[in-house]
Amino acid sequence: MKYFILTILFFSLLCFPVLGAEASEELKIEEILVLGLTRTEEKVVLSQLPFSEGDYWKEEYRRWTLRRLQLLDFFAYDPLKVIVEPLGNENCRVIVRVADPEVLYKEPIEFVFTKGIDLLFRQFNLSLFNPGGMGSNLYFQGGWGNYQHLGITISSPIGAGKGSAGGKIYSNSTGFYDERGLEFKGEYRGWFYPSIRLTGGIDYRTGEINEEKQIIFLPRGELYYNNEFRGEIKASLGVPFSGEDLFFRLQGQVVREFGPLVGVARGGFISGDSPPINYQYRLGGYGTIPLRGQPVELARNYLLGTVEYHFQAGQFIPIIFVDGGWYSPGGTEGLITLGAGMAMEIPLGVIRADLGWDPVRGTTNFNFGFGHSYRPPF
């Protein structure tokens, strides 16, 4: 079985980077036109552009601009375009076509759908998209039942990126572990190259975990790559002020698609023998780390590989997958999951259902979720 797992990991790790230089056209940018703003000030968009008038246009600017504008999270989904129009004298006009959405929603169907899901899970999240026109969003979160919380976050464009500050001003949950207290987060994100996004942040948490006092200060850094393959690396350092040991957390993921075949490799590591339970990795369930044939598990370290085959059949996307890997402390002997599922594209994205079977443990699990299991890391 060890060799089988290694084979899956090998295939999933075929996700090597292919860095290609993009061809540039010899067109000089004579004019930049931002079209479609009704609430947002033009300087908010201009500050995100990686080019200015007088520069020579490069095709990579298009992707870079779109990623930066999407990161701000307050433009309507459509239109969001960068158009280069030749002016016939080796010059060009660059048109950035955007639109402000309603303050409460970008798409009414999405609003109704997501609020319905929220209520199903006893929570309510509300976003106010750039109400003042200066680029600041407000996010409110609330929950009741077993996962009581109340939070607020504000985000704002800072330079060619986005800063945000906020957190949970109250939480009292009795789910996987009992948690009470407050949490504050501050971070800055930005696309600093067309394919590379960086995030730097600081979290501060004070409260109780399973009735034990916990005060933690956690600086963190994240790097995302999105080009021929997608990858992410997240590192953070936990500095407890409540008696526990210092801990270091490192997590990564690489996704590469070969036509209908997708390879995903994921890994996570936390230093120390007994890191805080709420900073350990949660595998399976609705989290981002799939454990599809087994019940939800907490892990300190994991290494998982997935090879998935999917194809389009009308509106449906049949899926066959194999997961393999190991995690500690619960799964050091290794695991294999064989499964099949079905995804469907709906106007709001992809919904997916699959059934995983672990032939070693003899367990099966039904999973339902939004987006593909190899969902983009950002």
Partner: protein, 579 residues
Amino acid sequence: MLERKTIIFGVLFLLFFSLTIDAQGIPEIIIDDGVYRAGEGWRIDLEGLRIGYLSGSPEEIGIQHGLLMTDDPEELRQKMLDKQPYANPENLRERLMGFFLNTYARFQFYPAFLRHTPEEYIQEMRGFVLGASRGEDKDIYDVMMGNAAQDLEIAACSAFAAWGEATIDGELYFGRNLDHGGMLDLSRYQHLAIYNPERGYRFAVHNYPAFVGTMSGMNEKGLVISSNYSMALKEELAINGLPYMFMLRNVLQNAATIDEALEIIKNTPRTIGLTLLLADGKTPQAVVVEITANRMQVRTQEDYIYAANRFLHPEMKKYQAGGWLSSALREKRLQELITEKFWGQIDVQIARDIMRDRFPPEGYNQENFGQGINHEVNMASMVMVPSRGEFWVAAVDDSEIPFAADSHFVGVDARAIWETGEPPRKELGILEATPREGYEKYWFKAREANLLFGQGKGEKALELLQKVLSVYPRAEMPLLMAGRALIREGEIEKGMEHLERFAALELHSEPFHLMEGYFWLAVVYDQVGEREKAVEYYRKSLQVEVEDMPPVEAGYRYFAEKGMETALQLTPEGRVFIP
């Protein structure tokens, strides 16, 4: 306690007062010697053409528009609402679909249009609703959607401008046909509105009640603009933008030169593909602005220029979507008429004649009865001479098919109205309607038949076509149309006979129709089991080169290719399917 009561009373008083302000703000309509007046505005009916003068603040203009330009606002509103999808649901599914679409439009499209529309036009729409409802209503939803609905329709219009060497006196003459099958029943509500706005230039537009935006107009600075659809690729469309009729209105109200107009168009978040003909009577000069939601290119030419329903600028051709609207034929006719037949002679009457063109050209040795620049969905036709402020409009009657360009034209001196603010005592002139006799008499029948056939009224269409064919047995288009109608009626043999006669003609004016004729012949041969002949005609159909049919066009080409592989069949309703 007393304080609370005072507050409640105060709120109720304010509420009552705010309602009465609206009711009081509606001026009374005074009828004086055939002139209907409301505030500074007035309306007259001059030789069958309704002319309105709208003056003042946006809200005042809107109120005058609502009061004066609609005799029966509710009837008009119902006509517009009936054009919405699922307007008259026949079952629960359609009722639910209608409810869903309306709700979605109210929460997604309507707020987007509102955000992009200048406050001035919103106030004018509010004024219109107040005026039309006589102070009862001020919800602008239906009016906004009516203005924006033009962004979702497809129409086939033609326009040209000629000046300099091309015209009799060097002045610029602008001809324009508005062709829109889906709006034909609104043609009788047309009017010429002369605006004297509080802000911006005075202008005149050809329009319909409730439209605050426009599709054709001229301003006091001699600038003229009109719009023709040009189907753009899906990625070149955007619903989240300014409905295009408002953009044209904005140009007329705020631009004095072509350059200023281009600047406005360039800076507008646009929605669909259009070819705009933009002319300046002062210079004189005209350009065609080819646009999509995201792109814009300007086409220029000396002495004359024209536009149908496709992009001609090389940069814009890449973004043309499928759909055949007979643009090439109309462009060819405009070119022939301006540069060969009428070069150096163009004046108002000849400009009108160009818009009235019904093909075939002289020397075409066979009766055609096809469309030229003029055709059966022509709902409005007009000629403008911006240097003199002249606006000539075809005065359509209540006929179901107005054949606007063939109606009589009424000349209006817009400049005099801008200067005096008073109704004209007399028209500038009248250009007579086309006499319905000889070839023309049968042309109207043939074109009406084409429209009826398109509406699924095959029997009525056949009746008209037989009348044409009894007099003109070699009539090109009637043979094709009758062949198709007979097939739809299940008379395969007779249909085949008509199509064979069509195919055997020496000349075929429009390659698209030849392709169509060969295709249907192939289909009928498939129905009678003559596979070899069917394949031969499918091949012939595929070999016809249709210049203005974009490669993405499915329709006949797709089915003809399938027909080469397997015999196509017909449904009882006469529709083709692949077994």
